[in-house]
């Protein structure tokens, strides 16, 4: 186990190094991405720009700039070139909203897709299955900006059941927090439920033909017991993989559309704004954060695997 964790940590550092380097180089080489020009503002003279370039060290070799950037990020001294705020502080500010969105939606989409996927598999070929298939397809095809806008318009603006957007801290008013999160949770979940339930349905239909499922029936277990104890347990592995990665993405600010449309001021919205302005420091920090969550949760998923499937334990 210790060896596993150490190996995973080393891999994690390697992955994050490569990602940070690539992101840095990418935004450095993008046309119109000159940070000195951005810092100086629209009306700056050539002299002012040259001064800023020298002052901030943008004229130094790229690896020096990269090293300094990394040092700044890890000491929390990294500032937006555009608006001057401290990026790490800003990310910390956005984290509660993003976590609320990710955890709430994650629970909803995981459990709903297990229920929907299992139901579709059990009723395979029947009308229930067809209906669920259509609903899944509709869910997958609904982009959050569309579904979110519809929900806000009808349930928020017309019926006034839900607020039009924004985030209220859980600690300041739990009820308002909940009311504000319902639509974002729903919007984000719909997308994943459609996809996950399809994957689970097909995995279950494969598993149901396994010899050990036949053995379970031959033992005298009821269909329900067979399904719960033997089929579902063996079918959850691909779902857990998907969930680990998707969940990490959302925590790391991946739900850009959902966060923006509901104005949650989370990390995703921060990233969306930063990308619009080519604010490289913010982009870098958010990308690193996402990478961190993805790699960390991938490790958690591997441990969960071992829990779900004893054959993997030896390898771990």
């Amino acid at each position: 186990m210790t060896r596993f964790i150490v190996r995973r940590l080393i891999a994690m550092i390697g992955v994050m190094f490569v990602i940070s380097l690539l992101t840095f180089l990418l935004f450095e080489s993008i046309p119109n991405g000159d940070p000195a020009r951005r810092l100086a503002g629209r009306l700056a003279t050539a002299n002012e720009i040259a001064f800023i370039r020298k002052e901030y060290g943008f004229d130094q070799p790229i690896y020096v700039q990269y090293a300094r950037m990394m040092k700044n990020i890890f000491t929390g001294q990294v500032y937006s070139y555009y608006q001057g705020f401290n990026v790490v502080d800003e990310v910390k500010l956005g984290l509660p909203a993003t976590l609320s969105l990710a955890i709430g939606a994650g629970i909803i989409w995981l459990f709903t897709s297990i229920v929907v996927g299992t139901l579709a598999a059990v009723k395979a070929g029947k009308n229930t299955d067809r209906l669920l298939t259509v609903l899944s397809m509709v869910g997958v095809s609904f982009p959050p900006f569309f579904l979110g806008a519809i929900l806000i318009y009808y349930l928020g603006y017309k019926l006034n059941w839900f607020p039009l957007g924004g985030y209220v801290k859980l600690t300041s008013d739990p009820w308002q927090w909940f009311v504000h999160m319902v639509l974002p949770w729903f919007t984000l979940s719909v997308l994943f439920i459609g996809f996950y339930s399809r994957v689970l349905r097909s995995t279950i239909l494969d598993t149901i033909n396994e010899d050990y499922v036949r053995t379970a029936r031959a033992k005298g277990l009821s269909e329900n017991q067979t399904l719960r104890r033997h089929v579902l347990r063996n079918s959850l592995i691909p779902i857990i993989t998907l969930f680990g990665l998707d969940f990490a993405q959302v925590i790391g600010g991946g739900a850009i559309l959902t966060e923006s449309i509901f104005n949650l001021h989370g990390i995703g919205q921060l990233a969306a704004d930063a990308i619009g302005r080519l604010d490289i420091t913010v982009i870098l920090v958010v990308v690193l954060l996402t990478a961190f969550f993805v790699v960390a949760l991938a490790a958690v998923v591997d441990i969960l695997y071992a829990f779900l499937d004893p054959r993997i334990r030896i390898a771990v």
Partner: protein
Amino acid sequence: MSDPLLEVDDLRVQFHTEDGVVRAVDGVSFTVDQGEVVAIVGESGSGKTVTAMTLMGLTRGPNANFEGSAKFDGTDLVTAPEDELRQIRGAGIAMVFQDPMSSLDPVYKIGKQIVEQIRVHNKNISKAQAHDRAIELLERVGIPRATERVDAYPHEFSGGMRQRVMIAMALSNDPKLLIADEPTTALDVTIQAQILDEVRQLRRQQESGIILVTHDLGVVADIADRVVVMYAGRVVEQGTLDEIFYDPQHPYTWGLLGSITRVDRDRSQRLLAIPGMPPSLLRPPEGCHFRPRCPFAFEKCTEVPPLTARLPDTADHLDRCWLEVPQKRELRKRGDQIGLRTKETVIS
């Protein structure tokens, strides 16, 4: 004599597929008595596994159609409602499957899988008691250090060990009837012999009836009391072990017996195959299903021969062949056309 343990009468199983109706089992009748080992033999696709699975209710489905009856302990296994059948499955009738490598759930300890079967039929047994019983069963089927091994996972066991676990599981509720579907096919010959020993012991100790589904006549000769030979969904011949091995009446049976490897023959005669392929069960040949492959077929064979006793002295030796008995004995003597070199096998 008391009623037989299991009485299968004119069992028919049809599956509706996209290509048409498959008559997987087409009128199969046989009985199994207490403490008796009945072997069902035949090549792949002859309907022997479907017959066995149908007795367990495992072939039921929207596309399956059943006729006939299979009486076990006062219950008709063919028509019994699912709930009733579930009480019997794994308790009164237990089954051991062909492929031990994939028949155990990979994510549970083997002990837990045995405990599950004990407790699903007897809720009064505590987990601890069931666990002790699992250890006992594992010891009985010859798993060394059963107290430790009960907590192992299936992937930590070899194929032979897993089949022992499957047998232990099948025995956990003292079944009156054990159905073993090619229990040794996937195993080494040495392991095979050990597994057959377990089966033999089960019959002795428990007086259980055993149905052994196999295509391995060596195994049949080793253990069976009676033999049912199936071909393309029908029983073509049935009788006692000696009757089938020493006075086989159906040319298909001759072919099966002829295809046993014989080290006592010339190299060219050691392994003889039945020519041709088994028929498609979607469109089986008219009349006797074996007709297209049978070197002795004649006009009458386009009618389906009934399964009856044709030998004057043995009422239980049944077959489905139009040939006259003396004619067959004569053919068998020179009939190396389908593999049967008969001098040493014929008593008559």
